[in-house]
Each structure stands twice: as C-alpha cells, then as structure tokens.
Symmetry: C2
Subunit: 291 residues, 2 copies
Amino acid sequence: MDIGGTKTEAIALDELGRVEATVTRPTVSGAEGVLSTAEAAVAELAERTGRTGFASIGVGLPGQIDRRSGEVRNAYNMGIDSLAIGPELGRRTGIPVSIDNDVTAAAIGAAHLMELGGTVAYLNLGTGVASGIIVDGAPLRGKLGMAGEIGHLPIGRLGRPCPCGQTGCLETEASGSALKAYWPAGGEHPGRTLLTAAASGDRDARRCFELLVQGAASAIRLLGLSLDPDSLVIGGGLRLLGAPLRDGIRDELARWEAESPFLAALELSRRFQLLPEGSPAAAVGAALAAG
Amino acid sequence: MDIGGTKTEAIALDELGRVEATVTRPTVSGAEGVLSTAEAAVAELAERTGRTGFASIGVGLPGQIDRRSGEVRNAYNMGIDSLAIGPELGRRTGIPVSIDNDVTAAAIGAAHLMELGGTVAYLNLGTGVASGIIVDGAPLRGKLGMAGEIGHLPIGRLGRPCPCGQTGCLETEASGSALKAYWPAGGEHPGRTLLTAAASGDRDARRCFELLVQGAASAIRLLGLSLDPDSLVIGGGLRLLGAPLRDGIRDELARWEAESPFLAALELSRRFQLLPEGSPAAAVGAALAAG
C-alpha cells in the first residue's frame, strides 16, 4: 500500500510477486482518516481477490518512519504528527503490518517491476525530493532511516530558504512544493498545468520548469558521480511531466558533458529513465519489503 | 600494495587477514619505474616473511582502473598514461594480480582494520577528493568503475575552474591539489606546513585551511544525507592534519546543525572519524579485494 497525501493505492501481490489486484482510494486526512482509508483498501482487495486474508501488509508513506515500532511522524501532508500505524492497522486487520518510507518503497518496487539488478538509484521528484538506493535487491535505509534525503543538500542556485532551516536546498527549486510556492498560479497541483502555461509564455511557469529541470539534472549528476549505478530511474508525481521533463534533463546533462570530458565519460545524459506512468512502484515495493 | 605518486606501501596478509609484514619504498615514476618498484616490494615482502610466494597480489592505485584487463590509465602523478600493470606484474612475479582504485581499496581496508560493518562511507582527502562506499563488506565500484567521484561535484563556493572541465568542483577547494594551486608557498607537500603557516598569520594558508574544512564538511553532509551510513571515515593524506582538521569539520557541521533541526537529527558532527595515522588501509584493502 502506498499512502499519499491525496490518494492511497493498494495492490495485492501473489506468491511470485505478481500484481493480482489494484485499489485506489482518496486518502482521508488525519490519523483516524488514514487508518480507515487503509483498512477499507485492505477489505476491498480481499473482496476483489476472493481471499480471506493476506500474509502481510506493507505500507509505504512519507514522513519519518520507525520500522521497528511501526510509527510514522511528521507526515504533515496527511495531517499526521505521530501515528503507530503499523500496530494500529495490524490490530484492525489481524494481519502483520510493516511500514517503509514511500521513496524507499518506490525504489524497491521500481527495481522489481522494471527488472533492474545491481545498484539502482531512484530519484523521487514529488512534493519533496529524495532518493532511494537499492544494492542487489536490498534497499539502503540508513542508520537512522534517513538515507536518500538529497533534497536537503543546499546545492541550489538561488539560496532560497528551506523549511528544514538551511538555505538553497535542492527541494526549494526542483520539487512540487517549490512549484507551488514560486508559481502560485498553478494551484494545488501545479505539475498538471505547468507545461501548458510555460508553452503559452507564462514567465514564472517557464522559470519554475527550468529550475526543476536543472535541479533534477543536478540530482542525477550527484547520484551518478556518487554511485555510478547500473540504473538511474526518475519517479514521483512530477515525472508525469513526461517527455519534456526527460528531454530537458537530458539536454542539460549533455550541455555539462560537452564542457567536461570527465563527466562525458559517465554518459549520464543517456543513462536515466522515467518510471512509466501508472506504475504502482511504491505499493509493490512496500508489499515486497513486508513479504 | 598501495602505489602512490610518492611512495609504495606493500603488506603481506596471512590467511586470516592479519598484517604479517610491511614494506615501504619510494615510487619510481613511469611505467617501468612503477613496475620495478612493485616487483621489488614483492620480493622484499617474500624475504621478510620467509615465504616463497603469495596466493595473490592486490594493487590499489590512482587513475582510471579497468579491473578486467588489469590496466590503469591517466595515473598522471606517477607518470603513467596507460599501463597493463596487472598482467605485467603478474608475468614478472608469477602471481595473479588484481588491481583496484586506491580510494576503493582504502575504503575496504579501513572497514576491515577498523572493524566497521553495515554501510561505510569513506571520504578520501588526498591530492584529489573521492569517496568509497562499502555495503556489508562489498565495495560499490560502479557500472563504469566511476563510483565515488564526488570531488567533481560542482558544489564549491568559489567557482574555480577544474581540470575536469567543470567549475567549482569540490576538489578545487578541499584537496591537496587545491592547496598546492592556491597556496604555492606550501611547496610540493603543502599539508605538512599548512597549520604552522595558518597559525603564524599567513592569510592564504588560513583561507586554504578554511576552504578545506568547509569542503570536507560539505562532503560529509553529502555522504550523510545520501547514505546515512553506519560509519563515516575520513582518510587520505590530508587527514594527517589531525585534530585541527577534525575539530574544524565538527564545528562547521555543528554550526549547520544549529540552524537546521533536520540536519541536527542526522548528528553528523558526532558521527565521523579520522582514519588513524599510519593505517595501511589501501594496501590491506587491495590485498583483501584480490584474495
């Protein structure tokens, strides 16, 4: 299950890791709302698959995750300060529940669904910016569960203040929250109308798109130089900008490569791909991590 | 064996991975020089240990490494454009030779000697800046053998041109080559006199030291946010600056943490350590990787 601020996607995996059924529901905000949304999704999956139960439930969600206690904290975009979602959902469903960071879950799922082996670096461009790293099938979660927080590297160009307390974080330039803050005309889901607005000459929209492309290219360079991974995948809601985003990132990387033989040798402009639209990567990854 | 621009350090490991003998020789420059230095070191180790041969030889050295062919390229600081050192040294000694990037070898050796498990991020502050990442005992070398090249992330503060073609690379501010370029008074080995000069009021020396500290702290933040590793180790020749370097990095990180609760939660100012002086990490790591 992938619980996001807007919707909850739940899938049933069979014993071989194949998707048996998919359920999508709007996420109801707040602790009780999130729990009842998740519970209802499990019930609907059981009905759809004709199963009386499941071996385990894996939940991917944003916020600070404590896998041991099953507790999530600071999941602000779903109105949660703190919730022991693992034990609570386990009690309601009678099924053991394991929780994971949504980006880690998406990285696990992307590697599985796209059949990527070796080292996989997954870049999530969503409300925030973060990465997931998979090494030979196993995610690097980090000693304190904070691996992949590259959105808070202060390597942006504009030095904008970040809610984290630093300035110039990547996330202040190349994320959904940056779009919302610096192109308010785009409303709640600015990604959906950004390209049309940019194409029709909206300067702020165009500037936001440029910063997004440059920030994403910086993140790919960062992951590429740090890990030189076997695969580089871009996921998250903003990947739905599709070909213009992909081409923009590729062209930006190619410009850098033209000036640096060293960078050119890494061939990053040809090495990344977008997670396919509609891929239930986070839900699948959460299920696999629980399995 | 760790072949550097100045010296070659060779160690003999017994079956349990313990250091049996150590030999240090000045590296003779050029292809023939490097080969004869290595050959002589092996002969001396055999003599010292009373062994007639070794099961394998592992060589760590700078430059572009092709582990499959045993070839090194662009190892400029030892006067080598291209050398099939693996096969050549193998022919001369009659022992199978495996080669590795010196930073990767040092990371493997540091994890072994310091008994560090899980994910180990090793930051090498030497002539260049690079990192080695070990996950559960296995190094991440990268698809093209370029993992860990974080010295060429253009995240420096001054936008200095880098020989790689980019500007502002970390390596242009926080490395031995940066010291040499921007504090020429320090001569060939500026690290040795930098602290004395800075303490006695040499402004350029002080500025170079500050940039080194800030760059190293940036690199620790980068590795910390990307990987949240179980251990963070700083090695390389510049680590011999010792306590002032360690304290400088710690204080810089602590300043950033004071402004960012998010960063403070990672506790990086308390999580890194210096590779002990005299540790033969690269030689040991190269031997282990060959074994």
